[in-house]
């Protein structure tokens, strides 16, 4: 009987070693492709500057040179930037969570008048902005220009976060809310005593999005913070890595001389700075990974 059942020769057997090997190889290759750039930056940051300038470093560090790190650690501007970033990240994250919760809750209340309109209205600024100059004028007229608030306040409300939280709140069983009301709870009590305690996963997601987003942001600082003592870490990085590359052809002889000297010392320095500024976020990443996945799933469903 068994002989009569014709086996499809293309069928993959479960637990096939060949498939495992192929899949593992693929996964390994993907891992390498993803991790190599970072490994490359690390080995460049500790190799001899001449080898770095000659781009001779590929698989392992050539020479050993930690002076770039010494220079960074002794640079007070970097520490200023680090502490500023901590302030921006912590204040920004807390305010983002707060505004997301306060913005989302009313939008889940069924008998709120014009709820649908409000939701549609909220979507507009998600896709259309005022533009740079109007935003600048607004920030300037509000007296925020060149203060830390210029970075914190405009970024404290995220429509995307409100929608995420609203989606989460909407999935909380109505029975829970009704029983709270029957027990005499007000909306505020319901929000802070019942809903928020069971909404930790979504708050964690918002918090992580905010932390990563604020940690990596520099553009607002570029426009609104001419005082370098207020610059966040990424702005410091931007200044060193991106903006210090120059077109030597455009310079007179004396300026070209200084520019070449600057360029050489910067080639290695920028690798060291990248390592130094990215490490904290990289180290926190594994701990919050599961929330990222949750966040992605939540974002997939928008009602």
């Amino acid at each position: 009987m068994a002989a009569l059942v014709k086996r499809n020769p293309n069928t993959i057997k479960q637990g096939s070693v060949v498939v495992d090997v192929v899949l593992y190889t693929l996964a390994l290759a993907l891992c390498l492709i993803t991790l190599y750039p970072f490994y490359f930056v690390i080995i460049m940051s500790i190799s001899n500057p001449t080898e770095v300038a000659a781009m001779n470093v590929f698989w392992y560090p050539k020479g050993f040179f930690l002076d770039s790190y010494k220079l960074i650690v002794s640079d007070t501007k970097m520490w200023w930037a680090y502490s500023n970033t901590l302030i921006y990240v912590s204040a920004g994250t807390i305010l983002n969570c707060l505004t997301a919760v306060l913005g989302a809750y009313p939008l889940t209340v069924r008998n709120l008048m014009g709820r649908k309109w409000v939701v549609s209205y909220l979507l507009i600024p998600m896709y259309f902005g005022g533009g740079l100059i109007p935003s600048y004028l607004l920030v300037n007229k509000l007296g925020l220009y060149d203060t830390m608030f210029a970075v914190i306040i405009p970024g404290m409300v995220s429509i995307w976060n409100i929608i995420l939280v609203r989606t989460f709140f909407a999935n909380i069983p109505d029975g829970l809310k009704e029983s709270a009301f029957i027990d005499g709870a007000s909306h505020l009590q319901l929000l802070f005593r019942v809903i928020i305690p069971i909404s930790k996963p979504i708050l964690a997601v918002i918090a992580i999005y905010s932390v990563v987003g604020i940690w990596n942001s520099w553009f607002d600082a570029l426009v609104y913070l001419p005082n370098e003592k207020l610059h966040p870490l990424q702005m410091y990085l931007y200044r060193v890595v991106v903006q210090q590359s120059v077109d030597l052809k455009m310079l007179s002889m004396e300026d070209a001389k200084n520019a070449v000297a600057n360029m050489l010392s910067n080639i290695q320095l920028k690798y060291a700075i990248i390592v130094f500024t990215t490490l904290p976020v990289i180290f926190t990443y594994p701990f919050f990974q599961k929330y990222f996945i949750k966040g992605a799933l939540l974002g997939s469903l928008k009602e």
Partner: protein
């Protein structure tokens, strides 16, 4: 346990918010007010200045009080009864900040460095009244210093800063380099060839373009850098005409170039040597000596090749001394004189004009005390300031050599100079809100280079024919229509020209279709561009 968390959390939130508020309120430390040490009884005029910080990592404007040169400059400003309030924005950020600030027209200082803005934007701002016309102000308030500099020392400065309607909206950095007191001293941009490799392989210095090609081939074939590979190359970008090889064929340095001596605007595309030039580049490519992977590369990428000790030849300043220390294992670059390439065409040199005018410093509409603003520029355009800016303090940063020419004393690294404080003003506050006024000399430069570089420079001093690397220095400011037409033409024309030149050099396009290329260039507005630039050159020459 759970209950404890709440007060803890609230405390953390409170601390963070308070910390951010406190930190925010401390954020107005951007402006650094000058010491008000004006003599008692005299009222100092306050001015707000906005500009970028310098790029030096060690010598910083914020540490200025410890530099002797600053004390001298500060004295000049105090004597002029000026109290300055500096807003210096990191130079990497300045472009964005100034563009946003000027576009919004709000929060403007009294004096502003607007070098980051292009001519179109600046002229628009002038038209809107954001920038003041300086001529009547100079007439009314100046003590004569500005006029003296602009009319006697740097007469060409007015030519490049006067608009078509006779107005002047910005002051500039002024530079001149002389030799033996008064002779103009241009330096050249030339092809550099590895001198140590010539010596190692016992090769003569090439005397014409063909010999140059053969020398490059020999360096490569004989493995001049001894790394076992034939990787000695020429780094040259054929896309633009600013590489000095183009001038060997008598070509201008840009699509529209100024022939200073003949007072004519020319385009390499119309010049006699153009086809020979591309044939020659094709030979360099075919022989494999021109590194095609570096065409259009960044300065850093070219620097990698240099550090790897693979660059046999490249174009740079004849008196440069900054490339050699970057070569792994060391090396020497010999600057070549322009080489004969085609019979009947005299090879031209490419020079940096001995007189330069660049950067823009303007007075804005928000200035309350225009007289003080002019007084500031009177201080800047004084002989004393010029000396402090470029040379510093005699006996500390410079001295007189036996011929009486100024030479710098310190040749230490920036880090050491920052410690001793012995720097000229340029290093400390140049390119910020303080315009440069530079009386440079060739004597000092010659004293710091090997004899073979100095010899080349002395030959270049009076060499003709020549083209200049900064053509705009010889063109007057275009009017609205000219500017609009030029901007419109240049975008497409530059792209087409660069692409065409590169493809012709690489042999990807044939020289046989020349008429077609010329028709395309004309269609993109080449003739119109030359016509406009000729008008600008004529106006430049007519401004007295």
């Amino acid at each position: 346990m759970k209950k404890r968390k709440k007060p803890l959390m609230s405390a953390i939130i409170a601390v963070v918010l308070i910390a951010s508020v406190t930190a925010c309120s401390g954020g107005d430390g951007k402006t650094e007010e000058a010491d008000s040490n004006a003599p008692a009884g005299q009222q100092s005029a306050k001015l707000k200045l906005l500009g970028p910080t310098g790029a030096n990592k060690f010598i910083k404007f914020e540490d200025r009080e410890k530099y002797p040169v600053w004390k001298e400059v500060d004295k000049l400003l105090t004597d002029a009864q000026l109290q300055l309030d500096y807003e210096l924005v990191p130079n990497e950020q300045y472009n964005v900040v100034i563009k946003t600030r000027m576009a919004s027209g709000s929060n403007l200082p009294d004096i502003v460095n607007i070098s980051a803005l292009d001519n179109t934007t600046v002229l628009n701002l002038a038209k809107q009244g954001v920038l003041l016309d300086l001529n009547p102000l100079i007439e009314k308030y100046s003590n004569g210093n500005i006029k003296k500099m602009y009319e006697q020392e740097f007469p060409y400065a007015k030519k490049t800063t006067t608009t078509s309607d006779g107005k002047m909206y910005w002051f500039s950095d002024l530079h001149k380099k002389t030799y033996k007191g008064t002779d103009p001293a241009p330096v050249s941009l030339t092809m550099l060839l590895r001198k140590d490799w010539l010596d190692k392989l016992s090769l003569p210095v090439p005397a014409n373009a063909e010999e140059y090609l053969q020398t490059l081939k020999t360096m490569r074939d004989k493995d001049a850098n001894r790394n076992g590979q034939k990787d000695e190359v020429l780094v040259y970008d054929p896309g633009a005409f600013s590489g000095p090889i183009a001038q060997w064929f008598g070509l201008g340095t840009s699509i529209s170039s100024v022939d200073v001596e003949n007072k004519k605007v020319v385009s390499p595309w119309y010049q006699d040597g153009i086809k020979d030039y591309f044939s020659y580049l094709q030979k360099l490519v075919k022989e494999g000596v021109l590194d095609t992977s570096l065409i259009g590369a960044t300065a850093e990428q070219k620097q990698q090749k240099m550090t790897e000790n693979q660059v046999a030849s490249t174009g740079d300043y004849n008196l440069e001394t900054y490339l050699e220390p970057t070569i792994k294992g060391g090396g020497e670059y010999l600057p070549l004189m322009p080489l004969q390439a085609v019979d009947g065409i005299a090879p031209a040199a490419q020079i940096e004009p001995p007189f330069l005018v660049w950067q823009k410093y303007a007075i804005t509409k928000d200035t309350k005390n225009v007289e003080a603003a002019i007084k500031y520029f009177d201080t800047i355009y004084s002989d004393k300031y010029a000396e402090l800016l470029y040379w510093g303090i005699e006996g500390q940063t410079y001295k007189k050599d036996e011929s009486g020419a100024n030479v710098f004393i310190n040749n230490a690294s920036d880090e050491e100079l920052a410690k001793t404080g012995q720097v000229p003003g340029l290093r400390l506050f140049g390119d910020t809100v303080f315009p440069r006024v530079q009386f440079a000399n060739l004597e000092f430069e010659l004293s710091g280079v090997p004899k073979y570089k100095a010899d080349n420079e002395l030959q270049i001093l009076n060499y003709k024919p020549y083209f200049v690397n900064m053509n705009d220095n010889y063109l007057a400011i275009p009017d609205d229509q000219q500017l609009e037409a030029k901007t419109k033409i240049l975008t497409n024309l530059n792209t087409y020209s660069t692409e065409l030149a590169t493809k012709l050099a690489l042999g990807q396009k044939s020289l046989d279709n020349w008429d077609q290329y010329m028709a395309d260039l004309k269609k993109l507005g080449l003739d119109q561009l030359l016509e406009i630039d000729q008008q600008l050159l004529d106006r430049y020459n007519s401004i007295q």
